[in-house]
């Protein structure tokens, strides 16, 4: 699970919530150059500025049982200021109104707070573990959702890249196929020594990814199932993350992406104010 997390985070962070402008290749690019361009598009939590997304997670566990969660992500990113992300649980009903707040100062770990409506109390979450687990039973970790992830910190891309066509819906996309290999110093903490990534050639959107485990078996697959547009950029609207070994999978659907009509109030990201926030009000934003 934990390995899947980082894989997915990377792909998601670099591909899903991004709204970078088109980048056209002038000359044949090497693997490291492509990886750099992919990372330049941004990290988890979206583009600069304020963003509201409604996201649905459809989870199928390795036991073949299903679970569905719906969230509203409200984020605020500004150069030189901490990244802020508020996650409000919408469904299922039992957890509706549960809030998570992440404030990540630049270059530091994120501070996390939790509000459980059934308890009516806010607690700071201090997580000092080296590895984080899954977010709402999916393959994502909450902290990483807020803090983002850089592939190049742990992996080196092979110089040589190949090209391949990928079909999503009716449209065919030409992609670079990158092979990433784990850096020597990260061998202990990374579960996938080798990853593969299919990057769309013009906008550097990651359309597909694969993670190979230490026994050289393909373990996780990421696939963009549907693409859409956000502020002139191509972004995946629906992605599938699958563990091919145990059969578990998560389908993430971005139901809405929008800029708030009014600037987000600062107390939205104030831990002391969490218990005053109402889910219905947040959904009206």
């Amino acid at each position: 699970m934990k390995a899947v997390t980082k894989f997915v985070l990377a792909v998601l962070g670099l591909a899903l919530l991004v709204g970078a402008g088109s980048l056209h290749a002038q000359q044949p690019l090497t693997g490291p150059q492509i990886l750099q361009k992919v990372e330049e598009k941004g990290g988890m939590g979206g583009t600069q500025g304020e963003l509201i997304s409604d996201v649905k997670f459809d989870i199928i566990g390795k036991d073949k049982k299903t679970a569905t969660n719906e969230f509203r992500f409200i984020s605020k990113r500004k150069h030189g200021e901490p990244d802020k992300l508020l996650v409000a649980f919408v469904k299922p009903d039992d957890v509706r109104g549960t809030l998570f707040l992440s404030i990540k100062p630049q270059g530091k770990d994120a501070d996390l707070w939790l509000y459980l409506p059934a308890l009516g109390a806010v607690k700071q979450l201090v997580n000092t573990q080296e590895r984080k687990g899954s977010f709402a039973g999916s393959n994502l970790s909450f902290e990483d959702l807020g803090s983002g992830f850089k592939y190049s910190e742990s992996y080196t891309a092979d110089e040589k890249v190949t090209e391949e066509k990928i079909k999503i819906g009716d449209k065919e996309y030409t992609t670079y196929v990158l092979t990433l290999r784990v850096k020597k110093e990260k061998e202990k903490t990374e579960d996938y020594p080798v990853r593969k990534m299919w990057v769309e050639k013009t906008e550097f959107v990651v359309l597909k990814g694969e993670g190979y485990n230490k026994t050289n078996k393909l373990e996780t697959v990421f696939e963009a199932l549907a693409l859409g547009k956000f502020e002139d950029d191509t972004v995946p609207d629906k992605v599938l993350i699958k563990n091919v070994l145990d059969g578990s999978q998560t389908t993430i659907t971005f139901m809405t992406r929008k800029r708030p009509a009014q600037p987000l109030p600062e107390n939205l990201f104030d831990p002391n104010n969490l218990k005053n926030l109402k889910i219905d009000d947040l959904l009206k934003l």
Binding site: M1, K2, I59, I60, G61, K62, D63, K64, K65, T66, A67, F89, P92, D94, V95, T98, F100, L114, L116, P117, A118, L119, A121, K123, Q124, L125, V126, N127, T128, Q129, E130, R131, K132, G133, S134, F135, A136, G137, S141, F142, K188, N213, K214, T215, L245, D246
Partner: protein
């Protein structure tokens, strides 16, 4: 017909030898295909309810087996040097590619709550340097209910590192070897043990390979000694030996081509075959020497006469032996069926080779110049002649004595225990068993089983009423004598509730609010907590994990029955009380089913009991039918069965009095004893009938039979007794017992054939004797 066949063999010896060589190459090429299967759970029929339940549980909740490395100290594990070792070992185990998760005293997740915060931390991020840090760590770990007794023993003297393997890697022997190698590196002064089912299975696989490499040469040595004592010549040793070695190759080749694996019960089939199959070569060669010493005939005529004379008795003996082994086909356990079928096929190969290859080779060799009567043969003749005189005088006493002995054994049989556990098959003192004992001493038992609670609706397990019902079940289970500990989602919910209420122990209860339960569980999964066996993704079902000490199969059966009674009373489908009211006012039906290893062992016990009865009835029945048909008399068939009945009673009676259990290996003894033991009776009765037909009176017929055929029977019994005795050097306690008991039954069945049958025939002259005489 028989003569024509014999003539063909003698006329074309090179064709026979060449053909045998080609077939041998064909079979030998398949031997490397044989794989090893050591998982005891795989031995049950796959459509057995217990197996289906286990497989379903494994599919839903992952591997159900415990795999743990235990580190035991004389004083405490709370020392920097021991903690450093534990941390390094955990890191190294995580590096093994097939390992999914490692949970130990240093890397486990600890959660602690305060008024303002919830802290989720690694139990020991850095090795403590000061006594204060060490004390803080000790309090942290021993104060956590989810760690105390799981990764650190209550007394702090032992630590356990739980290893979970990736899906599909549970049977990989290589993983266990990697774990063992790391554990060995850190041995001393702490004692490090690797325990659990994967280790047990790896040990069994390794031991089977080791046993085979030792048992084969020792068996060959034993056969050489017996043959030399019997024939006192090179031919006498070489020819039967070549026959059995080739038949063992053919047998293993057949297994290889048909995809049959070696199991802890069937891997000895080739070794057993070598002991059993020697008899055919011995009888053919014995007859050859007898014919050769009569003189006046050519080499060809002598070999033809030998084959012609030996075809029927050898076929009869082989068929009854095959019937005994094939009787194991009635077993519901496939390893036993495999053992029966492949040893039976091997016996046919051995009989075939004794009647073809040995004559073909003899046809190419010069006739023996002198009579090869060994010292052993002279002693035997003298001894058996004295026995004949003794039987004449004491026939009635022998029969009364045999009857009395039979009654004594029969009285003991109801005490016979059935044992199915792999632990007992290995025996005390094994490193694997020692590891299990350590897990038992420090970590709440070496056996783990499960009860699945299925509510059937999404989020059903989050209902307070359902959780309270599960908690009541756990409280009941913990009153049972062998149960050390139970774990379920109720433990987690109570623990989280306490942590969220500033660690106040008063909140170690199931909350009344379903929403709070949902939100607490949500928090747990957010922080990387894995629910594992506790709940399915949709919370419609989960397991209560029961840790218990290793108990005998009988106690296990009682335990399973007692748990089932509780489940029947409190849960669906039988109990009306299995309904819980949900928060929204609807009713839920809660089903409970025992899954895991304990029901498997109990089912195995039931299967052994049923299989034993059926295989015994089948082998006795089929032997009776075969002998009756071949001898043309139902009475003759019954007469041959009589000594076997005493043999079987002796075997089971002795086992009962000595407290030896009936397990998957010893339960095969009955059929084997009948299959092999009946040969002695057949040879004896046939020869006696022949002597009677020659006009000898009962006393003379007895003396001739004992001093001629009796010698052959004695060689045969000696070969088998020593042959099965070889199993004494096996690594498995179960096979030691099996070898000793079969060896004993060989002695008892030969002695019974020598004493009970003649005693009956001296007192009663059945018609089949006269019929043959008239013919």
């Amino acid at each position: 017909m028989r003569r024509a066949l014999a003539q063909k063999i003698v006329d074309h010896p090179w064709w026979v030898i060449g053909g045998v060589l080609i077939v041998t190459v064909f079979f030998a090429s398949a031997i490397p295909r044989i794989r090893f299967e050591q998982d005891f759970e795989a031995f049950l029929p796959q459509d057995d309810p217990a197996t289906i339940a286990l497989h379903r549980a494994e599919e839903r909740y992952g591997d159900q087996k415990l795999f743990m490395v235990a580190v035991e100290t004389d004083d405490t594990i709370f020392k920097p040097e021991t903690l450093k070792k534990l941390k390094e070992m955990e890191e190294l185990f995580e590096q093994i590619p097939e390992v999914d998760e490692v949970r130990g005293p240093t890397n486990s997740q600890v959660i602690y709550g305060s008024e303002t915060a919830i802290t989720v931390a690694t139990a020991l991020p850095e090795i403590p340097e000061t006594p204060e840090e060490l004390q803080a760590y000790k309090e942290r770990v021993l104060g956590d209910r989810l760690l105390r007794g799981f990764v650190v023993s209550e007394d702090g003297k032992a630590a356990g590192i739980l290893i979970r393997l990736k899906t599909g890697e549970e049977e990989t022997v290589g993983v266990v070897n990697s774990v063992l190698e790391i554990a060995e590196r850190y041995q001393g002064p702490e004692r490090i043990y690797v325990g659990g089912m994967p280790r047990l299975n790896q040990f069994i696989a390794e031991s089977m390979r080791k046993d085979l490499s030792v048992l084969f040469p020792v068996m060959i040595l034993v056969i050489i000694i017996v043959l030399y004592l019997s024939f006192n010549s090179l031919h006498g040793v070489a020819l039967p030996l070549v026959t059995v070695v080739l038949s063992a190759i053919w047998e293993m080749g057949t297994m290889g081509w048909l995809g049959a694996p070696f199991t802890p019960f069937s891997f000895i089939a080739p070794v057993v075959l070598m002991a059993v199959g020697t008899a055919y070569g011995i009888h053919v060669l014995n007859k050859y020497y007898e014919e050769a010493h009569q003189g006046g005939r050519s080499r060809t005529e002598i070999v033809v006469a030998t084959v012609t004379a030996m075809l029927s008795p050898t076929a009869m003996a082989a068929l009854t032996t095959v019937a005994g082994f094939f009787a194991l086909l009635s077993s519901t356990l496939w390893p036993q069926r495999d053992f029966g079928i492949y040893t039976g096929i091997g016996v046919l190969y051995a009989g075939f080779l004794a009647l073809t290859l040995i004559p073909a080779i003899l046809a190419l060799m010069p006739l023996p110049r002198r009579e090869h009567q060994s010292l052993l043969a002279r002693w035997l003749r003298a001894g058996l002649a004295s026995l004949a005189h003794l039987i004449e005088r004491t026939a009635v006493i022998i029969l009364i004595g045999a009857g009395a002995v039979a009654v004594v054994w029969a009285v003991g049989i109801p005490r016979l225990k059935i044992e199915t556990s792999a632990k007992d098959f290995l025996g005390k003192g094994h490193p694997v068993v020692e590891a299990l004992d350590v897990l038992e001493r420090h970590f709440g038992g070496s056996l783990q089983t499960g009860i699945e609670i299925d509510v059937g609706v999404r989020d059903g397990l989050k209902e307070p009423e359902v959780l309270n019902k599960i908690l009541a079940l756990q409280e009941f289970l913990e009153t049972l004598p062998a149960v050390r500990r139970t774990t379920s989602i109720t433990n987690l919910v109570r623990e989280l509730n306490q942590k969220f209420h500033a660690d106040d122990p008063n909140y170690y209860v199931i909350p009344d609010d379903r929403k709070l339960i949902s939100q607490l569980l949500l928090l747990f999964t957010f922080q990387g907590g894995s629910l594992g066996q506790m709940a399915l993704t949709d919370f419609s079902a989960g397991e209560v994990i029961v840790s218990l000490e290793w108990v005998s199969s009988t106690e296990m059966a009682k335990l399973v029955a007692e748990i089932q009674r509780y489940l029947d009373e409190h849960f669906a489908p039988t109990a009306t009380a299995s309904v819980a009211l949900t928060s929204d006012g609807s009713l839920l039906q809660i089903k409970a089913e025992q899954v895991g290893t304990m029901p498997i062992y109990v089912r195995l016990m039931d299967q052994i009991r049923t299989s034993q009865i059926w295989s015994l009835l089948t082998s006795v029945g089929s032997s009776w039918v075969i002998v009756s048909l071949l001898m043309g008399s139902v009475i003759a068939g019954a007469l041959c069965i009589v000594p076997l009945v005493l043999t079987i009673l002796t075997e089971f009676g002795l086992m009962a009095y000595l407290g030896l259990p009936l397990d998957m290996s010893t339960m095969m003894i009955g059929s084997i004893a009948i299959g092999i033991g009946i040969d002695y009776a057949i040879h004896f009765v046939e020869r006696y009938r022949l002597e009677f037909a020659l006009g000898r009176d009962a006393r003379r017929a007895l003396e001739h039979t004992l001093t001629h055929t009796g010698v052959g029977i004695s060689y045969n019994a000696l070969a088998l007794t020593l042959g099965f005795g070889v199993l004494w050097i096996s690594t498995f306690k179960g096979l030691n017992t099996f070898g000793s008991l079969v060896a004993l039954t060989m002695v008892v069945s030969a002695t019974s054939a020598f004493t009970i049958i003649p005693a009956i025939l001296l007192l009663w002259k059945p018609k089949f004797l006269t019929k043959r005489a008239q013919a």
